[in-house]
């Protein structure tokens, strides 16, 4: 309950920001961080809680993004409906990808590589089919009206994004106190032991992928409506995949607040670096890579483990490693 109160307080505070922040520049900077928090948390559901590390979450992002774009441009369907379809297709794609990979027992790096491959295949497909606008991309007609899921003021987009992000975080809060969440952690930590006490690991992983895909798809819908333009690289390229997992890892995978911490920390760092270095091409990728290496080496449980309760957890993990080593020696 306390965690829920903290969560609600944070998002309520964020909700007031457009009324306090006068400049669109800063509001936009905060939006970029929020967007990262959304896709980071979406990735975290499958990667952090269920232990299925994906390198290809752009697949679900791109499917959601194209769904809302194609539906309104080619078929004239309202984007609010398109948002529902985009989310559903993202979830469906998550479940379908899970079904294909987990059925063949793919785990760890094999799973990660297959997800990456699927995102690439979809990028190539989007490049060559006419209804997605192929390589030229797809342009949504400007019509800034809430009924068309477009807004005149930036704050409109901000609140839309905030609502989606809140829904995602609320889902994870619920997961942490549900049977499904407990089973996801069990499957992540030891699939055989989970199966021995009746956990259907396959079904649990599918549900995790579906929920993860749902929010990734919704993030894609938001992206399309915000920028009113989409091409195969933006939708299915590696950018969103990398950002999603980076944010979760930096913040602390398998934690409720980790992706939020990771997103704001990374964007703060990115802004600082840009101020210091100016517009050096590729600089942000170098920084991201460095941050990732440093985090994995020195703070493998992420920023969230710096908190008091988190410190205990990090300590336990290290002791766990020690024990595992000892056990390996015993055997």
């Amino acid at each position: 309950m306390k965690r829920l109160a903290v969560l609600v307080a944070i998002f309520a505070g964020l909700g007031l920001l457009p009324l306090l922040v006068g400049s669109d520049f800063w509001l936009n900077a905060i939006m970029l961080a929020l967007f990262s928090a959304l896709i980071g948390q979406a990735w975290n559901i499958a990667g952090g809680y269920a232990g299925q590390f994906s390198f290809g979450h752009a697949l679900f992002f791109g499917i959601g993004a194209y769904a809302v774009a194609v539906l309104q441009v080619d078929l004239g369907i309202n984007p609010w409906l398109g948002m529902l379809v985009g989310g559903a297709l993202g979830a469906g794609a998550g479940a379908a990808l899970g079904w294909l990979t987990f059925r063949y027992g793919l785990r760890g790096s094999y799973f990660a590589l297959v997800t990456l491959a699927f995102a690439e295949v979809f990028r190539i497909l989007a490049n060559s089919t006419p209804f997605t606008g192929a390589g030229e991309g797809i342009l949504i007609k400007l019509n800034p009206h809430p009924a068309m899921l477009q807004f005149k003021a930036l704050s409109g987009y901000y609140w839309l994004l905030l609502a989606l992000t809140f829904a995602c975080f609320l889902s994870v809060w619920w997961l942490e106190r549900s049977r499904l969440g407990a089973q996801m952690l069990a499957v992540r930590d030891n699939e055989d032991a989970a199966a021995a006490v009746g956990v259907d690991a396959f079904a649990v992983k599918l549900k995790a992928m579906a929920l993860s895909g749902l929010f990734m798809g919704l993030a894609g819908v938001f992206y399309t409506q915000r920028y009113l333009y989409l091409d195969p690289g933006l939708a299915f390229g590696p950018t969103q995949s990398v950002e999603a997992l980076l944010v979760a890892i930096v913040g602390g995978i398998g934690t409720l607040f980790g992706p939020l911490l990771g997103a704001f920390a990374l964007h703060l760092l990115g802004e600082a670096a840009q101020t210091a270095l100016g517009d050096v091409p590729g600089a942000n990728m170098v920084i991201y890579g460095t941050v990732l290496v440093v985090m994995v080496l020195f703070l493998p449980r992420g920023l969230a483990s710096l908190g008091k309760a988190g410190l205990g957890k990090a300590g336990g993990r290290r002791q766990g490693l020690r024990r595992r080593k000892r056990r390996a020696k015993d055997a």
Binding site: R179, A193, A196, G320
Partner: protein, 247 residues
């Protein structure tokens, strides 16, 4: 309760379980004994669906469960523990046991409460908030039992839950297992500690090189020449008998 017929498992050229037949009635504690590498753990894995048999069949409560998935067999009420303990490291003892409790309880609070109850039954109440990875060997063995017990099984298959424990720890575990039996759970245990087998079980099977070579009351088995040979090597029963005659 459990009927195993002509169950066979090969690993390459090795026949780890070779045409095993056994029939386990409901109630009570039975034991499966035999030297290291006899195929006991493999037999448990076959019964509970972790290995697919190369032949034979497993019936649980009259239902054919041969080749079914482990989670389905567990949900049917037949739950195993692992000889090499498999805790969810990084999760607390309470959270570990609650995973078992969630088999029948969907509510988180109820599952956590049930976990506490089960922890009390196996003597882990004082370590509920510890990381499972930080438990001693004895603690981790108890956790294995607790997590399985939390599923409310009808048949509990315990794989060497006393291995690696010192005599006083073994003395502490024996009443725990008795209490589980008294609560109405049928138990089949693999055990090396013969003292524990004698104290706990009314019936035992002896497995050697994948085959059942004897069955009966544990005390009678301990005097069976075939069993002694299996444990101590060829010609040993004869030599022991001679030694006894000389004395």
């Amino acid at each position: 309760m459990l009927e195993v017929t002509a169950l066979t498992k090969r690993f390459g050229g090795l026949v780890a379980v070779d045409g095993v037949n056994l029939s386990l009635p409901a109630g009570g504690i039975s034991a499966l004994i035999g030297p290291n590498g006899a195929g006991k753990t493999t037999l448990f894995a076959l019964i509970t669906g972790f290995h697919r048999p190369d032949g034979g069949c497993v019936r649980f409560q009259g239902r054919d469960v041969t080749g079914e998935k482990p989670f389905r067999i567990a949900r049917a009420g037949m739950v195993r523990t692992f000889q090499i303990v498999q805790p969810f490291a990084g999760q607390t003892v309470r959270e570990n046991i609650a995973v078992g409790a969630h088999m029948h309880l969907s509510d988180r609070a109820e599952a956590l409460a049930r976990a506490e109850e089960v922890a009390r039954a196996v003597g882990l109440s004082d370590r509920l908030d510890r990381d499972a990875a930080d438990l001693t060997v004895a603690g981790r063995k108890r956790l294995e039992v607790a997590r399985a017990l939390a599923t409310d099984p009808k048949l509990l298959l315990l794989d060497e839950v006393m291995a690696g424990l010192n005599p006083s720890e073994i003395r502490d575990v024996i009443p725990v297992i008795r209490a589980i039996r008294d609560s109405g759970v049928t138990i089949l245990l693999i055990e090396h500690v013969m003292q524990a087998v004698m104290e706990l079980s009314d019936h035992a099977w002896v497995l050697n090189q994948g085959r059942l070579i004897a069955e009966g009351a544990p005390r009678a088995l301990a005097a069976d020449p075939a069993v002694i040979e299996a444990y101590l090597g060829h010609g040993m029963a004869e030599r022991l008998a001679k030694g006894a005659a000389h004395a």
